[in-house]
Symmetry: C2
Subunit: 211 residues, 2 copies
DNA sequence: GGGCGTCTCCACCTTTTGATCGATGCCCGG
DNA sequence: CCGGGCATCGATCAAAAGGTGGAGACGCCC
């Protein structure tokens, strides 16, 4: 292992969480918190400026850019720091985009301090740490036949989840009801359900759509 | 103001959040963190033991008792400490039970440290602090005509939200479909909608049911 | 005792939704 | 250039859900 401390950037919109991460990591040797960011945009700026080894990134920010977008922006540059996602709740809708965006690891905030420190060291070495709950769902995802909806299907289902009838959905998307029904039939087949409400419940459970 | 420090108990299942609250409050004068609890049950025990002025209480714990139940148990005793709710997300389904349970205040975790410290002092004095977002919704709630469902209606809607058909709901609750339809008709009227999916969306939005 | 709310159930009818066949045009990659 | 996924639409038909207008039973409270 290296003698130099691991230089850490904390990106989270909650002051309490930033203070908590700082407090937890500062009690461990070998870590140096070099900056904090309260917005995703600020995190991208600070990461681009260099001098950081690992970014602890929240996914939900109050407004503007989210954590996945910030992760993508950070990891797109050469010599970018590693990004370790540290978030509260995990759903597929969050996890997959973050991993696709180049996150090195994914932890939940209820992790004990030792796990957090270990994950930071692992991330600094360029290897991956996943929270058990996240790892489980990823495995299921790879095992199960693709339950991914197309862009259009997701649009339709999102409107259905807001309580719109086929008629209203067709108006919103400038389609005929026949097309909406066609999309819904495909959605039901993919999700293994047979009604709109069941589809919404399943999609919420899988994190395909957001409440 | 008193010379004695305000004695604080922190109840949250996330080590990071506990460390964060501790770090934030210890930088302010006049506070003394006397204990931490990682479960709601433990918080009730520690609060009952005395020596605490204010309890900072999370609402969601990993399992077992939740924050509202713990708040009710704590405030039920004579000479109980004040309970200040400090949580991440706010929905009516969380807020109202907590306030009914006797919470003195309700803050979101994205509050700046100064607000947090001020709220603790206010709570110690027995007065209430509400986060603006929470206060807004409470006002709307009092202003709006009661959108409260009966116990049975909530049961029906919860099953509907899981995607069950009227037939399945009637089987689960040992009713006829006629009764289920009757309950649903009342639900639609109360929520101002005209379909099961719209009712689920509205109820989720109002926090009447939980996904 | 009478009113009120809740929970239960019935019948009849209309509307919406879902199931099952289709069909066309588009784009993308092998 | 051809196959396949995607998006778009059509027509039926059956099933589910919703709208209307009841009614009886129970408990609670004034």
């Amino acid at each position: 292992m290296n003698d130099l401390p691991i230089r850490i950037l904390i990106a989270d919109d909650h002051p309490v969480v930033r203070a908590g991460l700082r407090a937890v990591l500062e009690t461990e040797p070998g870590f140096s918190i070099v900056a904090e960011a309260a917005t995703a945009e600020r995190a991208v700026e600070l990461a681009a400026a260099g001098g950081t080894d690992v970014v602890l990134m929240d996914l939900q920010f109050g407004g503007g850019m989210n954590g996945s977008q910030a992760t993508a922006a950070i990891t797109a540059r050469p010599g970018a720091p590693r990004v370790l996602i540290v978030t509260t709740y995990d759903t597929d809708a969050d996890t997959l985009p973050a991993i696709e965006a180049g996150a090195t690891g994914y932890l939940l905030k209820d992790a004990p301090p030792e796990d957090l420190a270990a994950a930071v060291r692992t991330a600094a070495a360029g290897r991956t740490t996943l929270a058990p709950a996240v790892a489980d769902r990823l495995m299921n995802r790879l095992r199960a036949p693709h339950t991914s909806l197309t862009r259009r299907e997701t649009e339709v289902l999102t409107l259905v989840a807001e309580g719109l009838s086929n008629q209203r959905v067709s108006e919103r998307l400038h389609l005929t009801q026949a097309t909406v029904k066609s999309h819904l039939a495909h959605i039901y087949a993919k999700l293994g359900v047979d009604s709109r409400t069941a589809a919404v419940a399943a999609a919420l459970g899988l994190g395909i759509i957001r409440r």
